[in-house]
């Protein structure tokens, strides 16, 4: 019986709560009817496993369809609320997508060229000469390549 209870866990919780005890009682009746006959018990178990496998997924689908129908009816009865929900959801999804797109391009995705880890930031060199004169020299790409 414990294995049959485990099998019933494949059904949605709501369906199990409503009909699980009845189904166990039915299975127990079948077991009593097949008592003492090994072939009868084996057939009962095969039938029980096949039954659960055949019906558990449609039972999930039944509940999903019921929820979707309920949601559609609730939204249709309050169109203003429905529109607000759609707009707020749209804004939320849009903002998330925009932020992720920027983060993906700036931080996550590798730079579009080879050996990106050897990239250096170009800068300037400020040189102070003897007589207090200073001059700023850009660091050229050639110098960067030379140092790499």
């Amino acid at each position: 019986m414990r294995f049959y209870r485990l099998l019933l866990r494949l059904y949605p919780a709501a369906f199990r709560a409503e009909y699980g005890d009845d189904m166990q009682a039915l299975f127990a009746e079948g077991r009593r009817a097949a008592a003492g006959r090994r072939a009868g018990l084996l057939a009962l178990w095969i039938e029980a496993v096949a039954d659960v496998l055949r019906n558990a997924v449609p039972a999930h689908w039944d509940i999903l369809r019921q929820d979707l129908r309920y949601a559609a009816r609730a939204l249709a009865s309050a169109p203003g609320f429905a529109l607000t929900v759609v707009l707020v959801s749209g804004l939320g999804i849009g903002a998330n997508t925009a932020v992720f797109t920027v983060l993906d391009a700036a931080l996550l995705r590798p730079l579009p060229f080879d050996r990106a880890d050897r990239l250096e930031v170009g800068n300037v060199v400020r040189v102070r000469f003897d007589r207090g004169r200073t001059q700023v020299f850009p660091v050229s790409p050639m110098e960067v390549v030379g140092r790499a």
Partner: protein
């Protein structure tokens, strides 16, 4: 149809269907309770508090009976099927013919 004449619990429905179809149709537990769930939602069946005499009853059992709407739907479905059978006969699909 199995609950048309009197309220029945799950196991009794399975037995009734098997008896009426000469054992050709044996409902499994999953098929039965999914059908009951759907028919309760659609208002075709009703869980009833009418119970048999205590010596014949098991308090864990739940009994179902047909609703007036369920009976009307069954009548409409019977009419539809009868019409279909009539059409099939006219086309030469009577039992016994090829």
């Amino acid at each position: 149809m199995a609950v048309a004449d009197e309220p029945r619990h799950g196991y009794a429905i399975i037995q009734e269907v098997a008896a009426r179809t000469g054992g050709e149709l044996r409902l499994s537990a999953g098929t039965l309770y999914r059908s009951i769930q759907r028919m309760l939602e659609q208002g075709l069946l009703l869980e009833t508090r009418e119970r048999p005499a205590p010596e014949l009853d098991d308090e864990r059992r739940r009994y179902y009976r047909i609703t007036p709407f369920g009976a009307a739907v069954a009548r409409a479905e019977t009419r539809r099927l009868a019409h279909l059978v009539r059409l099939a006969r006219q086309r030469g699909f009577a039992p016994g013919r090829a």
